[in-house]
Amino acid sequence: MKMERIFLYIGLILFALVLVFPFIWLLSSSFKESKDIFSTTFELIPKKEDGSFYFTLENYKKAFEYLDFPMLFKNTLIVAVVNTALNLYLNGLAGYAFARMRFKGRDVIFKVILTAMMVPGTVLLVPNMIIVNKLGFYDSLAALILPFFISIYNIFMMRQHFMSLPRELEEAAVMDGAGWFKIFNKIALPLSKPILVVLGIFTFMWNYNNFLWPLVVINSSEKYTLALGLGALLTSGGQSAEKYPIMIAASVIVALPLIVLFFIFQKHIMKGITAGSVKG
């Protein structure tokens, strides 16, 4: 029995190491001088020949010279924040309508959009690129926002949530003469904070990490997002060893914000993942 428990913990810790150690190694290497990055001796903390520890920001300096990080962050944040805000409000509206309001065609529309949810985004890659082009948004941040300002999956989640809310509060507000929008804004939405936080984080992260679509519709480097900037570094010979120091520091800069965000909202995120797996 005791032996089994020990093996259990060893196994769990081993896997935790396999999954997390690459991040620690990346972080550690990002503070190393080039010659220590290209070394076959294993040092977790950068060490000089005389055995003393050091750390250098040289790689980060080079990464900032190579990539315009302030601009990349700005573009990424604009896209991710605008998309998250639009998603939360508009998906909320639609979810509320599908959960609470009776109008002709509601159930048909809901079924149609649920069916359409099965069509994966990559299938729409080529035609959406053409549409964004025709609308005149090619190579603009709007091209990164428009095709994603609504998420049918999120609408589904919001609908489920609104259906679980008691109607009494809304009916009390009707007595006070509130209209539908007022009730949605003042009562339904404030009662949805937990699910809004969860969906908001996931929408934000998804937009932050999105790669294929920006790759297709963004051309000029002033419009690059973080993912696109780092991607360009990788495909433009980042794999050649000389660029390792830049690549390592740059990927820390790209990965770190979401990891921090993850730790802040960990509880919500964990809850959200498992809620999302309950198949509809």
Binding site: L12, L26, L124, F181, F211, T235
Partner: protein
């Protein structure tokens, strides 16, 4: 409820047929422009010879026929599908199996469960671009941690035999936390009584796992298989970033091939036909899932 209140409520609900449409208006606009229109558009384009160089001409099923049967002029279609299938074999069963083992371990009243869950989940929230950069570094033939660990000079991504399995392992690594979390949550939802009665029947830990846990989490396993399949058929980022489909086409997945047709050779007709073939594949997977998933684990 007073009469006045009732009329108020009635008036309010009377307006809902209009307001309902107002509330879903953004959705409808979005749906028409970015879901319905592209679906129809690419369906139409898939029957034309449009390639951005010459005017589009209606060619009937030519694009589909070429992709499926003309292996001389369209040599990458079947190999890319085959490579995607191989990638699925490398990444999906192993990933779910390891996740199953880890979830079962975490389900055994482990101290620090939260810590392990968090640790396992970190790769999953990291952008694939950053993961790719990290793994390029880890997999460096000479200085990479992996080569040092196994003490061999191996060009993991540069050799034809190891590139795809390596990307498969990376995919396992990246998705593991998600799979563990989903499986663990389902396992925790299994009623204790089931285990208690199994204990009374004299079942040992292994028997409890195979006779109680596995049957109860089977729908979740199928859920992971189906979503994993759908995701794997669309895999693109890592191949584009790390191998560019090489070496010698060994990691040229379906989506990468589609991307090349559309945005490298500008063959929009061919690319649209490929999109529809992918859609059909995914719809078949979804349909099989709805139709044929057994409700119970029979052994």
């Amino acid at each position: 409820m007073s009469r006045e209140k009732l009329t108020k409520l009635k008036n309010w609900y009377a307006k809902e047929s209009t307001m309902g449409w107002v509330f879903i208006l953004p959705l409808l606009l979005y749906f028409i422009v970015f879901q319905l229109a592209p679906m129809l558009l690419s369906f139409g384009i898939s029957f034309t010879s449009w390639n951005l160089r010459s005017p589009a001409e209606f060619v009937g099923f030519e694009n589909y026929k070429n992709l499926l049967f003309d292996s001389v002029n369209y040599p990458d279609f079947w190999p890319s599908l085959w490579i995607t299938l191989k990638y699925i074999v490398f990444s999906l069963p192993g990933g779910i199996f390891i996740a199953l083992v880890l979830a079962a371990m975490l389900n055994a009243n482990v101290k620090g469960e939260g810590f392990f869950k968090t640790a396992y989940y970190i790769p999953n929230i990291t952008a694939m671009v950053a993961v790719a950069a990290m793994w390029i570094f880890l997999l460096d033939p000479k200085y990479g941690l992996v080569s040092q660990l196994f003490d061999i000079d191996q060009s993991w991504l540069g050799s034809k035999s190891t590139a795809l399995p390596t990307l498969g392992i990376m995919a396992i690594w990246s998705a593991l936390g998600y799979n563990v979390l989903i499986l663990l949550t389902t396992m925790k939802g299994i009623p204790d009584e089931l285990y208690e009665s199994a204990t009374i029947d004299g079942a040992n830990a292994w028997q409890k796992f195979t006779k109680v846990t596995l049957p109860m989490i089977q729908p979740t396993i199928f859920f992971l298989i189906v979503t994993g399949l759908i995701a794997a058929f669309q895999v693109f980022d890592q191949m584009y970033l790390m191998t560019g489909g090489g070496p010698d086409g060994a990691t040229q997945t379906y989506m990468l091939s589609l991307y090349n047709h559309a945005f490298r050779y500008f063959e929009m007709g061919t690319a649209s036909a490929m999109s529809y073939i992918l859609l059909i594949i995914i719809l078949i997977i979804t349909w099989v899932n709805f139709k044929f998933i057994p409700q119970r684990f029979d052994d």
